[in-house]
């Protein structure tokens, strides 16, 4: 298995949020975490990023349990799209270049052609690259952030509400592109019915019977 959640419990300030959650994710899986706001979808994504530590249980990536010593190395295997980003003092080009200024990503700096190719797949106009992040719409910002994650060419994509700001046409473009990437593993948190339907695995956080798949 690529990723295993083993008997994971999450809680905040002594109050349990999720208890005894176990599921596996294989390479190429497209997994949707489903549930109401506050049900723990983002928290589960953040167990993978290391920003949420389970109160019990463990998360294994390539059979390696994440801990404070290896979390930085594990993070280099994922790309993470938060529900919202700001980066208001960046222009789009600067924002897309930002992850490649990090020492971990310097060797995989993409060329403009690759960026433009992804822009086309996701329905973004090429001229947007010269705009500031403040001037683009919410839907454009969400797709630009997705482009930045895809440029990292990681095997695992963590997407928090990836189509929440998109209109139907843009949503279809994004879904068609992402779900056609067979080798890409996607773990997503989403309210969107269309998105959830396209995923091959769905974990409903209110239905423990859906946890073991």
């Amino acid at each position: 298995m690529l990723i295993s959640f083993e008997n994971i419990s999450i809680g905040y300030n002594g109050k349990p949020l999720l208890e005894g959650l176990s599921f596996d994710i294989a390479a190429g899986d497209k997994l949707a975490l489903k549930g109401e706001s506050g049900s723990g979808k983002t928290s589960l994504l953040n167990v993978v990023t290391g920003f949420v530590r389970p109160t019990s249980g463990r998360m294994l990536l390539h059979n390696e349990e994440s801990n404070q010593d290896n979390i930085r190395a594990l993070r280099r295997q994922i790309a993470y799209l938060p529900q919202q980003i700001n980066f208001s003092d960046y222009d789009v080009k600067g924002f897309l270049e930002l992850p490649f200024t990090f020492s971990a990503n310097k060797s995989i700096r993409p060329d403009r052609e690759k960026i433009m190719e992804l822009f086309a797949f996701l329905g973004l106009k090429p001229g947007l690259i010269d705009n500031t992040m403040q001037d683009v719409s919410g839907g454009e910002k969400q797709r630009i952030a997705l482009v930045s994650c895809l440029l990292l060419e990681r095997q695992i994509l963590l997407l928090d509400e990836p189509v929440s700001a998109l209109d139907d046409a843009s949503k279809k473009l994004v879904m068609d592109y992402l779900f056609s990437q067979k080798e890409l593993t996607i773990i997503s948190a989403s309210h969107d019915a269309d998105w959830v339907t396209r995923c091959n695995k769905v974990i409903n956080l209110h239905q423990p019977s859906s946890w073991k798949q």
Partner: protein, 258 residues
Amino acid sequence: METIDISWGNLFLGYLLLGIPLWAFWYYHTGLVRETIVAAARMTVQLFLMGLYLTVLFDLNNAWINLLWLIIMIGVGTGTTLRRSELHWRKFIIPVTVGSLISILIVDAFFLGIVLRLDNVFDARYFITISGMIMGNSMKHNIIALNVFYKTLSRNKQDYKYCIANGATRREALQPFMRQALKLAFNPQIATMAVMGLIALPGTLTGQIIGGSSPDTAIKYQILLMLAIFVACMITILITINMANRTLFDEWDDFEKF
């Protein structure tokens, strides 16, 4: 050349000028009338007290007493910085104190020891006045930088997480926030430097000329003081933020409320 003293009566005339802004505050219902009167009264009392203790300090001119004065001022400055930037006292008291102390020691050693070549760098006339000026200014900019850095970071935690989860080290993920803090803290100072002598006559220069120094000497002091303040601000900010960050983040690069 003797400096013309200001009589008590004439000093009172100066206060009468304050009537103009007070009238404007009252007329536009700003609610600032009382605050302005209290501030002017506080300024008067504090400056007279300062006159008294400076006279005593200059008469004593004792290195240990001057150092003690510096430590007290750093303590007061740290308290003001933490109160104004609304940061957690327990988490920031040491970084702010150490940042202020190191910056003042480095800049004082350079300015008083190397540039002015004083036989006694703790000479009250130079050590206290120049340290005070540098400290006051660097505190002002430190407050801005701390405010911008930690408030922006808290407000935009998603941006920080985006960077960390996508491969950034903590230092790399904090760079956008540091850049913004430095820009906002230093932009006014850079603008002031750029127009100095054109649209503004700086305080040290004016004071020295009124006090009888030649314009040449006054200008040299002004330039060096501006540079010393600029450098001290940068050292204070860099030490404070970098030292604080060592304890504010956990091993997972996560942080709690500042």
